[in-house]
């Protein structure tokens, strides 16, 4: 290969690494102090870009100088810093003590809200930004042209690293950030004004995100997808570097930047896969990242956020279950075609949600990427029916859970080696790999357009008949999963969740049991995906998106993840609401985001949890 080309390629990789570091450093600092993984960090980055393309041109109209350009960039970053402060005061300080899953969901709620606000304010079309005066030319490097602005960016990252290091070493604020990152309780004991420290940290983190975004405007037009695409990369960087470590983020950014620059030459289609594979390998070798430190485990006995005591069905519950089944059977007879279709979707989602709570509620394995197994099941079914094999529906519905289970076996092998927030991040990363593969491998998967013409076999082609097929399979699978929760295997999962040390000391192979549960849940989600595929006739990559994974989490959360049957109620409730409201408003994401936050703050035990609490209170009053 031409050496000049290699040099230019490396420089361009380093420029990307530099940008990535500016953004990731903010994410990792915020995590270090608050222990919250801020999903909305990508949204702050996007806001930086949009504010940049709004502010910078106005300043350039006054005076077309580099000073004005960079003043505009800094103004945009400062404005985003203030938005970060707002976010801390209004939301984050209410969720510092809640479980990680709730924190992730609440900040994802902010992502949804910002998406709709940005679209409302700036419109759906990409907006190109101005270029930086005096940095518009190219530099000759060994006979190759390299953009001057890229060259400039290349130095910004190291400059930010130096400034952050000075801040951390020389100022009281920086020392407090380091102290809080190393030992949170210590800072409380020192009598530091924690509220100020946390607000200040959010300002710094948001400022860095905004700076990263505003600096991008000469390179990429501001667009509505910037938030999620950058946040996954930033997650990968912070996880590889070690959550909370700024130097770690720097090293990881360099690795990722170069891997992308050269990976694209060797495997143009699977650069993303390479990045995530690197992350998986790093986490297996160093579970806390390259420069991270193990989380001090709380040695106190805290009640886990999940299914607690198991009570078998009483007469009342049996009656409710029987009524639900009868009502189900009546749907195709009483309702119109549309209601039947919604019924099919709810059944498929109910199975997917139930399988997710099998992991989260019983196993304490917080999967943030359950859509991967649902989507793989759907694609497996669809591709087998439509592809060269032309399998009938029956075969495809056998293949769907197998595919979901196989994918879960592969990903789960890595996932169950981790715990807590690292585990959640890795499940998310694997879901994003899957998404990228299905999105980019267009020859097989149809890419963005997906697969069409996925219809049931002739005998099941009527919607009513297919409804009964789905009802039979979904209910059977749910009953089976429920049985497992009440069986020794389910108890073993809960035991490993409650105390891995104790489980290990009574001979339980924690990792293997978690892995098996991951496979079971993946297979069930795969079946759900297969059933869903035939109801719509088409499949596209949104089935694997983060949004879908969050929908599943919302279902178990709104139903109550401390209960066994809650996810079913949640699936029905969530999908019915979505189906009813979504056509009525252009602001669906805004309202969804808001409801996620409200549920996390006000009803963390969900609907069934609330009913249970009510019944207990009633029994208490009668007894007292």
């Amino acid at each position: 290969m031409d050496p000049a080309f290699i040099v230019v390629q490396a420089l361009s990789g380093l420029a990307n690494a530099s940008s990535l570091f500016i953004i990731s450093s903010g994410l990792t600092i915020v995590f270090g102090v608050t222990r919250i993984v801020n999903f909305a960090h990508g949204s702050l980055y996007m806001l930086g870009a949009y504010l940049g393309i709004t502010i910078v041109p106005r300043l350039l109209d006054i005076d077309r100088t580099p000073t004005m350009f960079f003043a505009g960039v800094l103004l945009a970053a400062l404005a985003v810093g203030l938005i970060g402060v707002l976010m801390e005061v209004l939301l984050l300080r209410r969720i510092y003590k809640v479980p990680e899953l709730f924190q992730l969901l609440a900040t994802f709620g902010v992502v949804l809200i910002v998406q709709d606000l940005v679209q409302k304010i700036w419109g759906p079309v990409d907006i190109a930004g101005p270029r930086a005066p005096s940095l518009r030319h190219g530099i000759q490097i060994m006979g190759q042209r390299f953009p001057a602005y890229e060259m400039f960016l290349l130095f910004v990252g190291p400059a930010v690293l130096v400034l952050l290091t000075l801040l951390m070493q020389k100022t009281r604020f920086g020392v407090l950030i380091r102290a809080a990152t190393q030992d949170r309780e210590m800072v409380g004991a020192l009598g530091v004004n924690q509220a100020m420290l946390f607000t200040g940290t959010l300002f710094l983190g948001a400022f860095l995100a905004g700076l990263g975004g505003a600096l991008q405007i000469p390179r990429v037009p501001a667009n509505g997808h910037m938030d999620l695409s950058i946040i996954t990369e930033a997650f990968v960087v912070t996880v590889i570097g070690g959550m909370g470590s700024v130097p770690g983020a720097f090293v990881a950014s360099l690795i990722i930047g170069l891997l992308q620059a050269f990976g694209i030459l060797i495997f143009p289609k699977i650069t993303l896969v390479l990045v995530f594979l690197l992350m998986a390998v790093v986490l297996v070798v160093k579970p806390w990242g390259l420069m991270g430190r193990p989380e001090a485990t709380a040695n106190r006995a805290v009640l886990p956020e999940g299914i607690l005591s198991l009570k078998p069905f009483g007469t009342g519950e049996r009656l409710v279950a029987a009524l639900v089944v009868v009502a189900l059977l009546a749907v195709p007879l009483m309702g119109d075609a549309y209601k039947t279709k919604v019924g099919i979707e709810i059944l498929a989602f109910a199975l997917a949600a139930f399988s997710l709570n099998f992991l989260v509620g019983a196993g304490g394995i917080v999967s943030f990427g359950h859509a991967a197994y649902f989507g793989i099941g759907a694609y497996a079914a669809g591709l087998l029916v439509v592809g060269p094999l032309k399998l009938p529906m029956e075969g495809a519905l056998v293949a769907a859970p197998l595919a979901g289970g196989l994918a879960a076996a592969l990903f789960g092998y890595f996932v169950v080696r981790l715990s807590g927030i690292y585990l959640a991040m890795l499940t998310l990363a694997f879901a994003q790999i899957t998404y990228a593969v299905f999105f980019q491998w267009a020859e097989v998967t149809g890419g963005d357009n997906g697969v069409v013409g996925v219809w049931p076999s002739a005998w099941a082609s009527s919607r009513s008949v297919y409804f009964y097929v789905v009802a039979l399979l979904a209910v059977a699978a749910i009953v089976f999963l429920r049985r497992i929760i009440y069986a020794p295997f389910g108890y073993t999962l809960r035991a490993a969740r409650d105390s891995a040390n104790r489980a290990d000391a009574i001979g339980i192979d924690v990792r293997t049991h978690r892995w098996l549960s991951f496979i079971v849940a993946g297979a069930a989600a795969g079946l759900a995906g297969g059933l869903y595929a035939f109801s719509k006739g088409s499949i596209d990559p949104t089935l694997i998106s983060i949004g879908m994974s969050v929908d599943f989490l919302m279902m178990i959360l709104s139903g109550g993840l401390q209960t066994v049957m809650g996810p079913l109620v949640g699936a029905g409730f969530f999908h019915a609401i979505k189906d009813f409201f979504m056509p009525l408003t252009d602001f669906w994401r805004f309202f969804l985001g808001l409801s996620i936050i409200v549920i996390v703050l006000a009803f963390p035990r969900g609907l069934v949890g609330a009913v249970d609490a009510g019944r207990e209170a009633l029994a208490h009053r009668r007894a007292g």
Binding site: G306, Y486, A487, R502
Partner: protein, 259 residues
């Protein structure tokens, strides 16, 4: 000999946490490891239990080499353990905690269909009876007083009919009366069923009142060993660990034990 520890050594970087540690433990005997903080008690303990792999040396259990086996396999060979901070399954009831240990003991953890709430319940209740927890069987562990949680842990450890019990600071965090009760209970069970007990402890009453023999570790090395009387009278132990007050406390504990 039930447990024979031979020449265990463990380094962490430049620090020698355990150096040529050797001792034996007979069935039905209570052996205490004592020493100041950082003396290598936990390190030694974790090398016997399988949490740590020794650099050199051997751990023999009833004549079988168990060095370096992971904790769950050490458990299979007949070693139960309790933790300094009680580790139980907090979402389960007392009896379910013991049932869980029995499910694992009978290798049924992958059973997908049986009803776990009734599985081995009778056996579990019998074990709870042995530690005086029958009345609390169906209460949730999360509702119990800490002293009772410790007894649940003991019941869980006994479920697999172990030959050896490892107890890391069994009375830590308990009220003085509960401490004495737990140690008496442990000693009586151990002697009746010929279970060897290896424990670490800071509480002088527990050590000098109940141990048959004592090993004193300081900076990773055994500086004294013997009966409680011998260790109490040892000048070096007095110098580097017990001090005057410790010796007095030990003396009081011995008198109470002999009375």
């Amino acid at each position: 000999m039930l447990l024979s520890v031979q020449g265990l050594q463990k380094r962490f970087g430049g620090l020698v946490a355990a150096k040529d540690v050797s001792f034996d433990l007979a069935a039905g005997e209570l052996l205490a490891i004592i020493g100041p903080n950082g003396a290598g008690k936990s390190t030694t303990f974790n090398m016997v239990g399988g949490q740590l792999r020794p650099d050199t040396g051997r751990v023999m259990l009833a004549g079988e080499d168990v060095t370096g086996l992971p904790p769950r396999l050490v458990w299979r060979k007949g070693v139960g353990r309790t933790f300094q901070i009680a580790q139980t399954f907090v979402s389960m009831s007392v009896v379910e905690n013991v049932q869980m240990a029995l499910i694992s003991f009978h290798e049924r953890t992958r059973d997908l269909t049986a009803d776990a709430t009734s599985l081995y319940r009778t056996e579990a209740l019998a074990i709870l009876d042995g530690v005086g927890l029958t009345e609390m069987a169906d209460r949730s562990v999360s509702e119990l007083a800490y002293g009772d949680v410790k007894r649940v842990e003991l019941a869980v450890a006994l479920a697999s009919e172990p030959k050896l019990l490892l107890m890391d600071e069994p009375t830590a965090g308990m009220a003085p009366r509960e401490r004495a009760q737990l140690m008496e209970l442990t000693a009586s069970i151990a002697r009746a069923r010929k279970i060897g007990v290896l424990f670490t402890e800071h509480d002088m009453d527990a050590v000098f009142g109940h141990a048959d023999r004592i090993v004193v570790l300081v900076r990773g090395e055994i500086i004294a060993r013997g009966t409680p009387e011998e260790v109490r009278a040892d000048q070096r132990v007095k110098q580097v660990y017990l001090g005057e007050t410790g010796v007095q406390a030990a003396l009081k504990a011995r008198r109470a034990a002999q009375a």
